[in-house]
């Protein structure tokens, strides 16, 4: 048996010393902001058409049609933002523009799904890099039961184990209650004895292997927030939010945030790869995406964590500024990123410009205005700025996965 190292043992024992539930504010690692940021990333999987969303384009006479909607409609505005009048965009932008930062002209530098997905999630084009949510959770919330929750895809780089959200979670909340909730599954004294026994036994016989450490973390974690999470989940008003897989997952993640169980959530919404029948399909997908974001804010406000929520929407790349032969739009490297935060000084704002045919322009890193002194924005610039905003840029894990930014941008000043 390989012996557990002293360092590992101390790490393990530190799990045991977590105090009872006091709310996440008290639980986060020393040095973190007093009120931690809860991070949600919604990925538009397949490549979204930002010309039909947050970087709207009108058609240019004599050029290829960029958008069919632009034949009869004008682009719309909400605050300082412009948007395309399709799907649910109007309702979404009107409701949330004060929380939205739009960054246009982000060059994915690829038309390949896997590569675009990797760089949009991680800011890097190196396989094996962690997504921002994983990196953030690894730096700030390793000791929580579900530091990062995921729906669909994930890039962990082995930093921590994500919790896949899906399926029937109710019975897993009050762990020792029978399904009919009339009695305990195990007598309370046995249940407590087993928990303590398991922990003590594991520490005695453990080793340094990754699986063992994951197990050790799982049995030692302070999971006293689960009942609170269930309470929130069951008592939140549903309002106009449809109870579907996407919204339920978001609702659960937010309740888990509030209950001190986790800090980040990655979810992808598919269907954006609209090589045919683009207009209808993209409108439907964007509606799903914006509805998901609206649901997140609706629940966050009820939980009184809206000021702590940072919500990002991104995609692996954009779509062509013209239609193909089957009314679809193909892959296009230029895209946008949307970041939402309540009561922030840097929202209700658009950064970055694209040409009428959806090509990016270099931006000055200080003024954030078009300039030959700058470079075209890439995912690495976005992720670099987000790492700094979240306070993890100099963390040990972030240092393992450098972004190689040629210029540093600050979108949140």
């Amino acid at each position: 048996m390989r012996n557990i190292s002293r360092r590992r043992l101390l790490q393990t024992l530190s799990h045991l010393s977590v105090p009872p539930l006091l709310g996440l504010t008290q639980k986060v690692k020393a040095g973190a902001p007093e009120k931690p940021v809860f991070f949600i990333n919604l990925q538009a999987s397949g490549g979204w058409d930002v010309a039909s969303f947050c970087d709207p384009k009108m058609n240019v006479a004599g050029e290829k049609i960029v958008n069919n909607w632009a034949k009869t409609s004008e682009l719309q505005t909400a605050g300082n933002l412009r948007f395309a009048p399709i799907g649910n965009n109007q309702e979404f932008f009107n409701q949330h523009y004060q929380k939205i930062l739009v960054i246009n002209g982000v060059n994915a530098r690829t038309n390949v799904h896997a590569a675009g997905r990797l760089s949009s999630l991680t800011g890097s084009d190196h396989n094996g890099s962690p997504s921002l949510s994983v990196l953030y959770a690894a730096e700030r919330a390793r000791h929580l039961p579900m530091p990062v929750m995921v729906g669909n895809s994930f890039e962990t780089a082995g930093l921590l184990a994500p919790t896949q959200i899906g399926g029937n979670i109710d019975e897993l909340i009050a762990l020792n209650r029978a399904s009919n909730k009339n009695h305990n599954l195990l007598p309370a004294d046995d249940f407590e004895l087993l928990q303590n026994w398991r922990r003590q036994s594991a520490v005695k016989q453990g080793n340094d292997s990754k699986n063992w450490q994951n197990y050790l973390a799982a049995i030692n974690v302070d999971d006293s927030g689960f009942p609170l999470c269930l309470h929130y989940y069951e008592t939140l008003e549903q309002g106009n939010v449809v109870a579907n897989r996407v919204h339920n997952a978001i609702k659960f993640a937010l309740c888990a945030f509030k209950a001190g169980l986790g800090l980040a959530f990655d979810f992808s919404i598919g269907g954006f790869d609209t090589h045919d029948k683009h207009d209808l399909r993209m409108a439907n997908c964007l509606t799903q995406l914006t509805d998901a974001a609206t649901a997140a804010w609706f629940f966050a406000e009820q939980l009184a964590i809206q000021d702590q929520l940072l919500l990002m929407m991104e995609s692996e790349f954009g779509r062509t500024p013209f239609y193909n032969d089957v009314a679809g739009k193909d892959h296009w490297p230029y895209s946008s990123v949307m970041i939402m935060k309540a009561n922030a000084s840097w929202t209700n704002r658009v950064i970055g410009q694209t040409t009428p045919d959806c090509r990016g322009t270099p931006l000055d890193p200080k003024s954030l205005l078009p300039s030959s002194q700058g470079v075209e924005l890439q995912p690495k610039h976005l992720h670099g700025a987000l790492r700094r905003y979240l306070g993890i840029a100099n963390g040990a894990y972030a240092q393992q996965f450098p972004l190689k930014e040629d210029l540093q941008y600050n979108f949140f000043g």
């Binding site: 390989r2 530098r109 690829t110 038309n111 896997a114 590569a115 084009d125 190196h126 396989n127 039961p145 579900m146 669909n152 895809s153 994930f154 962990t156 994500p162 919790t163 896949q164 959200i165 899906g166 399926g167 029937n168 019975e171 897993l172 762990l175 020792n176 029978a178 009695h183 599954l185 195990l186 007598p187 004294d189 046995d190 004895l193 087993l194 026994w197 398991r198 036994s201 292997s209 990754k210 699986n211 063992w212 994951n214 197990y215 973390a217 799982a218 049995i219 999971d223 897989r245 090589h275 045919d276 193909n324 032969d325 089957v326 193909d330 892959h331 296009w332 490297p333 230029y334 090509r359």
Partner: protein
């Protein structure tokens, strides 16, 4: 020999020349020239121990499919044979072997172990291992949720349409059909393996697999029971004889087709999994053909960070001058092999059954009547091979044969099955170069033997299980197996059922995703790292089933029990002064040792003393509850026949055994093997 230039066309041309040279002259010729062990009139160009030479030998190994003999695989200490048999049995047969079978391994040889592993492949549960492992790669079980084929079936299969519309609950019918079709390609792979056919037939078999419903609407004249699959040809598809595309407009003016089967490649569930469009043009099918059958991740095979001026100047046909072409020229040719299978996964679905081209393309000047592939795309083929689209054999069938003959096919098979066997990825960005080289060398060695054995899959599987990748003792530092393997939901379900007789479907349904499983629809990638949520699942499963496990087992005659073979429920431990300080006698100790062996494996019997203490504590809890009339919801089965004085003891023991089982089933060594 080589030409210079910046563009991919030059790179590709040079690469093709180099690969041909290596294939024609053998692996050692080029490498020998480079380090001057084969004289070439000049000095050595690279030192034999240099990084450059190491990279070159890796490349040569990839081209030839011959293991890189310049890398010596490290030796390691294997676990004992009984431990290997235990894990192999759980993996392949879904059960923990009987104690006697494990005891026999103590005096067995490696050959005996090989035979025992091979025997496991005769178990009925081996089929589930094959279909689940295959689905982890093909993901066709997505069809159970997507119902993607409903349009194709309704409009191109008259018997399906009739049965669908005749069935009162036609959604239930569609669900059953979708579930059946989702399994067909997985069943085909299993059939090839179970019938000891050369594994290459998974891409060349001149048939597909049918079951109850598909046997009817494929018009096979076979009667097949639900849940069974048999090989058959698809005679059920029609094509239109008119200008209207779908034959459903007039089934009487439609023709049958000679469906060109080529194993999994032409299976409609496989085709729908990788949908195509007028601009995608089968490229997803081609990309996954490379990945699944040749082990080549083409999206990661070249630099992907590309100048946007190139990316924004592309057309549907990727120009050979641009950097994208280094992958696309290979990809697009394979895409052409699927030319007769439409975006609907239907064979020649256009009007008059001529082709499967996009209607939009036919409106362009590129199109000529009679074309079956896009004139502005490379001809169908596989790298150096170009397929004869005028031949009787469909291009997809030619692709199947080309894949089977490709030196990379064997490596593709090893990589395909690697995660199912070892629970890890065959390639990992988290590994350092040295570890990845060891992995690549092992894969090439497995593949070479696989080829030499005529693509005998069961031998490959046995070799992989006998290798240190499966057998290395994780307690000893080694580059192969550093950890026990976290059981998948399916494996944990099988293990629990095998040991206790209790089958709790929640693990495979409600909690499948939470426990790291996949549904092939929303989640395609297994979560192999244990989480707090998984602990809750394991704890819940154990706590909610432990009472039934104990009572059911004790209800059996002693010789028929699975768990409590060494003790009776009303056995009274030896007491010295009081119950609180009781000494467990040898009977109890033996029973605890047996449980450890069964649940955790024989290497953990040293923890018996720990469990003795725990059992003592649990028994004390139970006694205390009994004395204080505290309700315990685990009771003796109604009608238990015990003397009145034994009832109280039995109730205390039952409660203690119940809770002890919970600990056993939530321990690291139960959840990992």
């Amino acid at each position: 020999m080589f030409t210079s230039g910046l563009y991919s066309r030059v790179e590709k041309s040079n690469l093709t020349l180099l690969e041909a040279f290596i294939r024609e002259n053998g692996a050692d010729y080029l490498t020998g020239k480079v380090i001057n062990t084969i004289p070439h009139g000049g000095d050595a160009q690279l030192a034999a121990d240099s990084l450059g030479f190491s990279l070159l030998t890796d490349f040569v190994s990839q081209v030839t499919g011959v293991p890189n003999t310049k890398i010596t695989l490290p030796e390691t200490v294997n676990e004992n044979r009984a431990a290997t048999l235990r894990r192999a049995s759980l993996l392949l047969a879904g059960k923990i072997p009987p104690a006697a079978a494990l005891e026999r391994m103590e005096t067995a040889t490696d050959e005996d172990l090989r035979d025992a592993i091979r025997q496991l492949m005769n178990d009925s549960n081996f089929h589930n291992f094959l279909t689940t492992g295959a689905n982890d790669q093909l993901q066709t079980r997505s069809l159970k949720q997507s119902y993607n084929l409903s349009f194709a079936l309704e409009n191109y299969y008259p018997w399906y349409a009739q049965l669908y519309f005749e069935t009162p609950n036609n959604f239930a019918y569609l669900s059953q059909v979708s579930a059946e079709l989702a399994e067909a390609p997985l069943e085909l792979i299993a059939w090839v393996i179970e019938h000891n056919r050369p594994y290459t037939e998974i891409v060349t078999a001149p048939f597909g697999m049918v079951s109850k419903h598909s046997a009817r609407f494929y018009e096979t004249d076979l009667t097949v029971k639900q849940g069974e699959f048999v090989p058959a040809q698809n005679f059920g598809q029609r094509v239109s004889n008119t200008a209207l595309r779908e034959p459903s407009h007039n089934w009487n003016n439609a023709s049958g087709v000679a469906y060109p089967h080529s194993g999994v490649l032409t299976d409609i569930a496989f085709l729908q999994q990788f949908p195509t469009t007028a601009t995608n043009r089968n490229r997803a099918r081609a990309r996954w053909t490379y990945q699944l059958f040749l082990g080549v991740d083409i999206e990661n095979s070249a630099a992907r960070n590309i100048d946007s001026s190139l990316l924004t100047n592309i057309t549907v046909r990727v120009d050979s001058q641009i950097a994208c072409a280094i992958c696309h020229e290979r990809l697009d040719a394979v895409a052409g092999a699927f030319q007769n299978f439409s975006d609907r996964s239907v064979y020649k679905d256009s009007s008059y059954g001529r082709d499967s081209l996009a209607e939009s393309y036919k409106a362009t000047n590129y199109y000529r009547l009679g074309d079956t592939w896009y004139n502005n795309m490379p001809a169908a083929g596989l790298e150096r091979l170009t397929f004869d689209t005028a031949a009787t054999e469909d291009p997809a069938q030619q692709l199947g044969k080309a894949l089977a003959a490709d030196p990379r096919f064997a490596q593709g098979a090893v990589k395909f099955w690697w995660p199912a066997i070892f629970g890890t990825s065959p390639e990992s960005a988290q590994l350092n170069d040295a570890d990845n080289k060891i992995r690549a060398t092992s894969i090439a060695a497995f593949a070479q033997h696989f080829r030499e054995q005529g693509f005998d899959f069961k031998t490959l599987l046995t070799n992989m299980i006998m290798s240190p990748w499966f057998r290395a003792d994780p307690e000893k530092i080694n580059p192969y197996r550093q950890d026990k393997h976290l059981l998948t939901p399916e494996e944990l379900y099988n293990k629990t059922a095998s040991l206790t007789g209790i089958k709790d479907p929640r693990l495979l349904d409600d909690w499948n995703l939470l426990y790291g499983g996949i549904d092939s629809y929303n989640v395609e990638k297994r979560q192999r790292d244990f989480t707090a949520m998984m602990m809750r699942v394991a704890g819940r499963l154990a706590a909610s089933n432990a009472c039934a496990m104990v009572t059911q087992d004790f209800a059996r005659p002693a010789q028929a029990r699975q768990l409590f073979t060494d003790i009776e429920l009303d056995a009274l431990p030896d007491a010295t002064t009081a119950e609180q300080t009781l000494q467990i006698n040898t009977q109890f100790t033996k029973q605890l040792t047996t449980l450890i062996e069964r649940f955790w494996g024989a290497s953990h019997v040293s923890r018996t003393a720990e469990l003795v203490d725990l059992f003592t504590a649990l028994r004390a809890n139970a006694l205390s509850r009994q004395q204080n009339n505290v309700q315990d919801n685990c009771n003796l089965p109604a009608g238990s026949v015990l003397p009145p004085e034994a009832m109280a003891t039995a109730q205390v023991n039952l409660a203690a055994w119940r809770s002890l089982l919970v600990l056993l089933m939530t321990d690291y060594h139960y959840l990992h093997e």
